[in-house]
Amino acid sequence: MKTKTTKRDHSHWMFLAPYIILFTTFIIIPVGAAILLSFTYFNAIETPTFIGLSNYVGLITQDEVFMQKVLPNTLTFALIVGPGGYILSFILAWALAQVPKRMRTILALVIYSPSMTAGVAMAVVWTIIFSGDETGYLNSLLLTIGVLLEPIQWLQSPEYLMKIMIFVTLWGSMGVGFLAMLSGVLNINTEIYEAGYIDGINNRFQEIIYITIPSMKPQMLFGAVMAVVGTFQAGAIGVALSGANPTPQYAGQLMVNHLEDYGFIRYEMGYAAAISVVLLIVVYAFSKVAWRLFGEKD
């Protein structure tokens, strides 16, 4: 192989070029720019000035909202929606694998479709359902059956906003991860199960633990990474539901909202860049955890 001409050695760049170009322009450069900007003061209009680590120091020591509301909110949200959505995806995928093919296709489409609709379009539907006056669907229903005496302000009251955000996101989280798991479950060779039963498995639960999950590790990993990235990047939902950034009493404020708050309301792009870098690190850390759990160790 090595004796071939050098010409041939260059040709692989041709094939790689589209990916490299796109990856550089859309991922590497923006991320690099964000990291650079995070060390500056940049008010979106004047030229950035270098201020060292001040942004990070400020974020950790002085940003009360970030520490008191945004970080706890983001973690709560991510820990429930991430694993929750992930487990739900798996359960649904497994359950779907048990039904006949035609039915399965239809149901898979039904479950998958919420994640296809754009977030904003979704929020419109949900704001009507959770609308705070008597004409909101949920309020109207609860009033009619006599559970409530007066309408609840679902989207304005800090008490409910986070719960609704979680609910709505879970509803829409059966995305690509779910499809991957479904195909993972379906692709397991049935002979393995037979072998398992011969070796002493005696119920479906053991089947899942000892055969299904280990056999679909790649898909589980893919689903997990998608879930982690998705949940940390979710932010539009709280703002879309409550109508504006910031959410009432920062009740539904997630990292992404906080970032937008600083970037587009306070015009402190440097600080916003610092938040985004922190977000990047958090996402990276969590996907590392996912790798640990499901990655092939070789």
Binding site: Y41, N43, A44, I45, E46, Q62, E64, S131, G132, D133, E134, T135, L143, T144, G146, L149, E150, P151, Q153, L155, Q156, S157, P158, E159, L161, L241, S242, G243, A244, N245, P246, T247, P248, Q249, Y250, F264, I265, R266, Y267, E268
Partner: protein
């Protein structure tokens, strides 16, 4: 549990009832909403029919202006000033009234008509009222419109920078003409008839608005139109002219009686002429030609005497898929009875409609050699009876609902049973009676067009009928099923209401028409398949190169202006400035559409900003200026004098210290909207202060109604518009000394904040109302404070309550000296100059020209003239605002409110005050936190953020104030241009 609630309700009722009777008695004389005394014409006409009153037999009399009786002889002008009328004429203006007497030989029904010459050259309609023998004969006689005729100033279309056709300027045709007294909404098929007694009758014509010269007044017996048979008989020796095709493009050479019937550029190869590259104005009418009575007359030159057929190439794609109607006019007259109305059926494609009788045989029209006018008049009279019935039923429905509400109170418990038929006997018959009536109208509507499919209007009617029928079967359930009767978006009343909006509209797009003999001569209406395909491929590729008003680099000597408004506005703006500004000053200007105002910040960062931006939100100039991107306008010598034309409060958010970085361009207003009918029915006065509001709340809420404030309109985040007025009305302030701290913790501010929250916690104002406009129409929120948007919606899109609502100034807090503090915001759009401008002076010249009274008046007038009355322009120039063609009473109210305009001034951290005010409200209302402690928590957060931001902009260094940040005040703005008052900071 239920028993307990019952008991409570009973107890509460006991308390409220006697009180209610007292208030009803004392208040009913206070401020009664306007009472309409007369019956409407439809009813009067029916009564006449019943009483056997007949049209008078042939009669014609005319009264010359010399014989008019008037209080002011000066208004009777001599012949020289009569603009070519060979008699003395009456100058009819400014609420003048004029009377004349006419002697008729027999009692009966007569028509009135007048010679007139319109004078007022604005969009102000010329309107008057007619009294016969000192009385209004019917409601419609209170408003008679004297329409003016318009034409394009030029008959060819000029092109804009991109080679697209522009709509020409509109010109009023100045000539004497004769007009019949007709109802203002033009829903009657025939002119209005008036009942005259035998002998002398006195007719009085009172001016309401506009100016005109009045010539002879005529009293005639109603005309009977010829039938088509008689028409043919009359011209029986004429023959059909063959091979004489005359093709007329509809978009050219016409006269119209409404300035805003306008040509459109149809992007369709079937329309003639058409070009894939440019926007050619090739059709006329469409959405601009929907109102009954709007007429277009085309001039046609006929070469030979004889009979002709008429074919119109039209696109009738009315949203509801219903039919539309036109009256055909030849030389201003309807030739025979069958030509009014002519039905145009729904068709998604262009079609050639040959005017024909019911059997499909083309009508023959006699035209003599020479010039003729062929006209079409939009005509909603075929559906008038449907509208009338529906309107009546809706009114009755409203009354019934109110009656039920009075009985049941604010009761949402559906488990509770009512024996409603005992309280309101015959309620089921009433409902089924309505259903019968509506069904009858539905059947009638179906006969109007040929289509077998029901239009949306018919479906609405059908559904309303079904709902009424199902309710009438179980009348006792009505209280818990009010949502099906009159409340909410799917109620019978709302279905009917929507139908009332759509049914009278008569949109029709005309491309061209043909005067012809043989049918074969007329070319096809639609282009062929291949032609269409080729055209759309061309359009697709050309769309990559079009640059219509997009922001691109301008030449060196041209000012570049980005405008955050739709295309119509920008086009008109470019036009105006090309016609007046550039010739006067020699400064060239290029206007472009800015798709999004956030783009300005990016453009600034990359140094590609324009010279001027128009139509941007009022918060944006501040953000740009504090970061050094805007030009201080206060540096110009004539700025202070110029600023006097605006509300002082409007400058506050655009200022830093004494520098001003933008001009207010449009201005919003928060006023109180109320339903006259409901307030009257409940006997409630219109509140003037918040105490008054508190006074009427128990009464309103007892009927399940409520008062709306902007707090409920905002979503989760309550902006300054909703919160700040309360602070200012209670004499509080948002900023403390030097602008370094917030003052929302002060005694006065706290009081305001507390009251704001109490409105929701104690007085149960709604917490969330997604759409006040709809609730106002359904009368669930018959009163509330809202802004310009609601005003336009209600004027343009709520015909079922037209005339039944009014506005009054924002409620406020009464001071000890009796004045009411009504402070409210009114953030409109603003205009600013960028630091990177090519020439500061030239840019300022342009701003001055644009915001001057003359330009603003002309712009507002042109806008409404070209695009219709719903294109309202809420200019911030107070003088120009006074000239706007809006109802005078409303203008007065708005101007009064603008004296209390207080836009929230800014400091670098004011967004924190805004969001913390929202959070304070949220904490008090939802978490039940004590106002004092809620405010105190926020004060800490706000002060910290202000300090941080002040440090960013160099007002604070190392925790110490370097220089103060004076917050602009109204007194400071007022002190400009020579006023003694020096800068005063709180």
């Amino acid at each position: 549990m239920k028993f307990k609630r019952f008991l409570w309700l009973g107890l509460i009722l006991c308390f409220i009832f006697p009180q209610h009777f007292v208030t009803a008695e004392t208040n009913s004389n206070d401020k009664p909403a306007e009472q309409v005394v007369e019956e409407n014409y439809h009813t009067v006409l029916e009564n006449w029919k019943k009483e056997g009153k007949k049209d008078a037999s042939t009669f014609e009399a005319s009264v010359s202006p010399s014989n008019f009786q008037t209080a002011d002889e000066k208004n009777l002008l001599p012949v020289e000033r009569s603009k070519g009328y060979n008699d003395r004429v009456f100058y009819w203006h400014n609420q003048a009234s004029v009377s004349y007497e006419v002697d008729v030989k027999e009692a009966g029904l007569y028509e009135l008509s007048f010679d007139y010459y319109p004078l007022s050259n604005e969009v102000v309609p010329i309107e008057g009222a007619i009294q016969v023998n000192g009385k209004y004969s019917f409601y419609e006689s209170r408003r008679i419109v004297f329409s003016a005729n318009w034409k394009n100033a030029k008959q060819t279309f000029e092109n804009d920078r991109f080679g697209n056709d522009m709509i020409p300027k509109q010109k009023r045709i100045e000539e004497w003409s004769r007009i019949n007294a007709e109802d203002a909404s033009q829903l009657q098929a025939e002119p209005l008839k008036f009942e005259l007694q035998k002998g002398k009758n006195k007719i009085t014509l009172t001016n309401l608005s506009g100016e005109m010269l009045l010539g002879n007044a005529y009293v005639t017996s109603p005309d009977k139109l010829l039938s088509y048979k008689d028409y043919l008989k009359k011209h029986k020796d004429q023959k059909l002219v063959k091979e004489a095709l005359i093709t007329r493009e509809a978009e050219k050479n016409y006269e119209k009686n409404s300035s805003y019937i306008r040509p459109f550029a149809a992007n369709d190869t079937s329309a003639v002429p058409s070009s894939p590259k440019k926007l050619l104005l090739n059709t006329l009418g469409g959405e601009s030609w929907t109102k009954s009575g709007q007429t277009v007359n085309w001039k046609v030159n006929v070469k030979k005497d004889g009979f002709y057929k008429l074919t119109f190439k039209v696109l009738q794609n009315k949203e509801t898929t219903g039919a539309v109607f036109r009256k055909l006019l030849i030389d201003g007259e309807i030739p025979f009875a069958e030509a009014a109305p002519i039905t145009f059926d729904f068709n998604k494609n262009w079609s050639n409609v040959t005017l024909e009788d019911k059997k499909g045989k083309a009508f023959l029209f006699y035209l003599s050699k020479g010039e003729h006018e062929i006209g079409l008049e939009a005509d909603a009279s075929p559906v008038e009876s449907v509208l009338h019935t529906t309107n009546n039923i809706m009114r009755e429905m409203e009354e019934l609902t109110l009656e039920i509400r009075k009985l049941t109170g604010n009761q949402t418990d559906t488990a509770r049973g009512w024996k409603i038929s005992e309280y309101i006997p015959g309620i089921d018959k009433k409902l089924s009676g309505w259903a019968d009536e509506l069904e009858h109208e539905l059947k009638y509507l179906r006969t109007l067009d040929k289509s077998d499919e029901d239009s949306k209007d018919m479906i609405s009617l059908k559904m309303a009928v079904q709902k009424l029928r199902s309710l009438s079967k179980e009348p006792d359930e009505i209280p818990s099923r009010l949502t099906e009767l009159s409340e909410g978006s799917s109620s019978a009343a709302q279905l009917l209401g929507n139908m009332l909006v759509m049914l009278p509209k008569q949109p029709l797009t005309v491309d061209r028409f043909y005067v012809h003999g043989d049918q074969k001569e007329v070319p096809d209406a639609e282009a062929g398949f291949w032609e269409k395909l080729f055209d759309s491929i061309q359009r697709f590729f050309l769309s990559f190169f079009s640059e219509n008003y997009s922001a691109s680099e301008a030449e060196e000597d041209t000012l570049e202006v980005w405008v955050n408004r739709p295309r119509q506005y920008v086009e008109l703006l470019q036009n105006l400035s090309d016609q007046t500004f550039t010739p006067e000053t020699g400064i060239k200007v290029k206007f472009s559409i800015m798709p999004e105002e956030q783009k300005l910040i990016l453009a600034n960062a990359s140094n590609k900003q324009p010279d001027i931006a128009l139509g941007i939100s009022s918060w944006l100039p501040y953000e740009l200026s504090i970061r050094g991107a805007a030009v201080d306008l206060h540096q110009f010598d004539d700025f202070e004098a110029f600023s006097k034309q605006f509300s002082p409060g409007a400058f506050l958010p655009l200022m830093i210290g004494d520098s001003v970085y933008a001009m207010p361009e449009t201005q919003d207003f928060f006023v109180q909207f109320y339903r006259k009918d409901i307030m009257q029915a409940l006997g409630l006065p219109v509140p003037d202060t918040w105490d008054d509001v508190k006074g009427i709340l128990p009464e309103l809420q007892r009927y399940g109604m409520n008062y709306y404030t902007h707090i409920a309109g905002a979503t989760g985040f309550k902006p300054f518009q909703a919160t700040a007025p309360f602070v200012y009305q209670f004499d509080g302030n948002l900023y403390g000394k030097n602008g370094m701290k917030t003052a929302i913790g002060s005694e006065e501010s706290l009081k305001g904040i507390q009251f704001m929250a109490e409105l929701n916690t104690i007085y149960s104002l709604p917490l969330q109302v997604p759409n006040f406009y709809n609730h106002f129409r359904y009368s669930t929120l018959p009163i509330g404070t809202a802004n310009f948007t609601t005003y336009t919606q209600l004027t343009a899109a709520a015909p079922e309550i037209a005339g039944w609502w009014d506005i009054s100034p924002h409620p406020g807090v009464k001071k000890e000296d009796g004045t009411v503090e009504r402070w409210a915001t009114g953030s409109g759009q603003s205009a600013m100059i960028f630091k990177g401008t090519k020439s500061k002076e030239d840019s300022w010249e342009l701003l001055k020209w644009w915001l001057s009274t003359d330009t603003q008046t002309e712009f507002a007038t042109n806008l409404q003239m070209l695009y219709g009355p719903e294109y309202m322009w809420n200019t911030s120039n107070l003088e120009a605002f006074k000239n706007l063609p809006w109802p005078e009473e409303h203008k007065k109210t708005i101007l009064k409110q603008w004296e209390y305009l207080y836009e929230v001034p800014k400091n670098p951290g004011s967004y924190m005050i805004e969001r913390e005010l929202s959070n304070i409200w949220n904490r008090i209302v939802f978490d039940g936190v004590n106002p004092r402690s809620a405010v105190d928590d926020s004060v800490v957060a706000i002060d910290r953020e202000i300090k941080r931001k002040m440090e960013e902009f160099g007002y604070v260094k190392d925790g110490k104030m370097v220089k103060p940040y004076p917050i602009p005040t109204i007194e400071q703005v007022k002190s400009w241009a020579g006023d003694e008052n020096e800068n005063k900071n709180n």
